[in-house]
């Protein structure tokens, strides 16, 4: 299966990335390899994606889910220590006009 330049551009848009034609073409080749690898994995699990979970073997019984008990949150200084912040808020470029 090959991934077209248009599909790469669509994925780039969803990922908020800006690709020119040259870059998109290069990615198209890389993606082919990635998808081929994914196909190989799929062929091992006979196309049943639910088996992906079984591969990890992860199931949890209802009784073992987390109890609804509050624990202390982090201090706001720590939460915002690696980001641009103002007044305790994470601050990003305005996302609406």
């Amino acid at each position: 299966m090959s991934i077209s330049v248009d599909e790469i551009k669509w994925l780039a848009k969803l990922s908020k990335l800006d690709f020119d034609d040259e870059r998109a073409a290069a990615f198209s080749g890389d993606f082919d390899e990635i998808v081929e690898f994914a196909d190989r994995i799929n062929s091992q699990i006979a196309g049943d994606t639910t088996k992906i979970r079984e591969v990890g073997g992860s199931e949890i019984a209802f009784a073992d889910l987390r109890k609804d008990e509050v624990k202390e949150s982090l201090p706001v200084e720590k939460v915002t220590s690696n980001v641009v912040s103002e007044g305790g808020y994470f601050t990003v470029r305005r996302v609406v006009k």
Partner: protein
């Protein structure tokens, strides 16, 4: 051409758990920005989500109350989208295996609005747009939600309103959410399409996002119906779009069209295991469901013999029902209890929210004591009203306001004497009554009430007066 409206609702309900869905941070409303946060709910690399058991319990309760089938093997999925309200750039939700499916909500008319599915997911953070920036607060990020998706069975704005009101009341009865639309703990996306009356296909639909008031839902639907009808009548095509409702102009506007539709690229959430729910847990939840609103309304009318109007005034508020039932369980009559609650007590509450909270300066036991005095005829309705009014203002016990003397009322000999006095003092009223004006007798009641400061039993006085006349 006449068009019929076809609508389905997606309703988000915040669950009243103590902690978030995937971490142990508090879900308390408000708080200084980003003070209810940890590595999990801010999406730090390597932090792993751990599912809150109560979220699953609450969702199962909601599902059972809405007559859904519970999927006892279920899992969570990633819904990818890139927006600052989601720190991970994906929301953990459910896609192909929701916890609950195939239920319904029954309207008063008997019509059933199908529930396609109910799934659990995490809420997003709150954005504040100011100057050239967007400020992000993740306190709400990770608060548990259920999304209740209806079938396109709704045919009018009135039905939509009734459906949302019913959902809200059921969730409150179950105590799984406070469903405060004004605080955002219940919000709806409304899907609307039109088709020629009698047609069996679905037209192109628009979706109005994030409605947080019943009346806005109705108004937005009315507006959208007119807008789409106008397009179709003039031979145009309705464009599939996501819209917003502007409450100031009363109009809907396009947020994004089909071309900009989101591609969420759902896939199974690898950080969370498949959940296995034993059948016994579902049965236990079914057995623990409380009496639901429609059953309660029916019981109030049929078993307690309350009028439809009174029963409806009570059943709309869960806290009122609890108070009322505690009162009648103490032996007070349903009728007098209901009348005093919907009369004197409701008159003190200006807003719906106050009735929902139903906070009183006395408990149900004290109120029941007052009602029982009234039931037994030891005090009359006037004295009961006067006492209740004082209790509402100052709190305290019935005995603070009604003495043993009051309870004794006026003995029969004394009452007859007063009736004779009332007749003598009101010759005109007596003459009018004898001439057939039944209402004239109220002048005599007034005389007796004044003379006894409301302590006399007017029903007993009425019998004596009629005998004397």
């Amino acid at each position: 051409m006449k068009y019929e409206l076809v609508s389905g609702l997606e309703t988000h309900v915040e669950l009243a758990t103590a902690t978030k869905i995937f971490c142990s941070c508090t879900t308390a409303f408000g708080g200084a920005p980003n003070t209810h946060c940890c590595p999990v709910c801010t999406g730090q690399p390597g932090a792993l989500p751990v599912l809150n058991k109560r979220v699953v319990e609450f969702a199962i309760r909601a599902g059972l109350a809405l007559h859904c089938k519970i999927n006892t093997v279920t899992h969570l999925d990633r819904k990818n989208y890139c927006y600052p309200d989601l720190p991970k750039a994906y929301q953990i939700s459910q896609f192909d295996k929701p916890l609950c499916e195939h239920g319904y909500v029954e309207l008063e008319s008997g019509k059933k609005i199908g529930i396609t599915r109910i799934h659990i997911e995490e809420d997003a953070g709150k954005l504040v747009h100011d100057r050239g920036f967007t400020f992000v607060d993740y306190n709400r990020g990770g608060v548990p939600l259920i999304e209740i998706v209806s079938e396109p069975d709704i045919s009018s704005p009135e039905e939509a309103r009734e459906y949302v009101e019913k959902l809200q009341l059921i969730m409150r009865y179950l105590a799984v959410s406070d469903c405060k639309m004004q605080e955002g703990s219940m919000r709806c996306d409304v899907n609307i399409s039109l088709r020629p009356e009698g047609a069996d296909y679905l037209g192109a639909r628009t979706e109005i996002k994030n409605m947080n008031s019943m009346s806005f839902i109705e108004k937005a639907m009315e507006y959208e119906y007119s807008r789409q009808a106008e397009i179709l009548s003039s031979g145009g095509k309705v464009e599939q779009a996501t819209m917003r409702y502007d409450e100031h102009t009363g109009e809907t506007y396009v947020m994004r069209t089909k071309e900009d539709a989101q591609d969420y690229r759902y896939f199974p959430e690898p950080d969370l295991p498949t959940i296995i729910i034993p059948e016994e847990e579902v049965q236990k939840a079914q057995a623990s469901l409380p009496e639901l609103p429609l059953e309660k309304l029916k019981r109030y009318r049929d078993m307690l013999q309350l009028s439809d109007h009174t029963a409806r005034q009570l059943y709309k508020y869960k806290a009122v029902c609890d108070f009322f039932e505690s009162c009648i369980n103490s032996g007070a009559s349903a009728r007098n209890s209901a009348n005093l609650i919907t009369g004197a007590i409701y008159s003190r509450f200006a807003t719906e929210e106050q009735k929902e909270k139903f906070s009183l300066p006395f408990d149900a036991a004290q109120f029941a004591e007052l009602v029982k005095l009234l039931d037994s005829g030891k005090i009359n309705p006037t004295l009961a009203q006067m006492t209740l009014s004082k209790m509402l203002t100052n709190g305290g016990k019935v005995s603070d306001y009604i003495s043993t003397e009051d309870v004794k009322g006026v003995d029969e000999g004394e009452l007859e004497k007063l009736c004779r006095e009332a007749i003598a003092a009101n010759p005109q009223a007596v003459a009018d009554f004898k001439a057939g004006k039944e209402k004239a007798i109220s002048a005599l009641y007034g005389y007796i009430k004044r003379a006894t400061q409301g302590k006399a039993d007017i029903r007993a006085a009425d019998a004596i007066i009629k005998r004397l006349l």
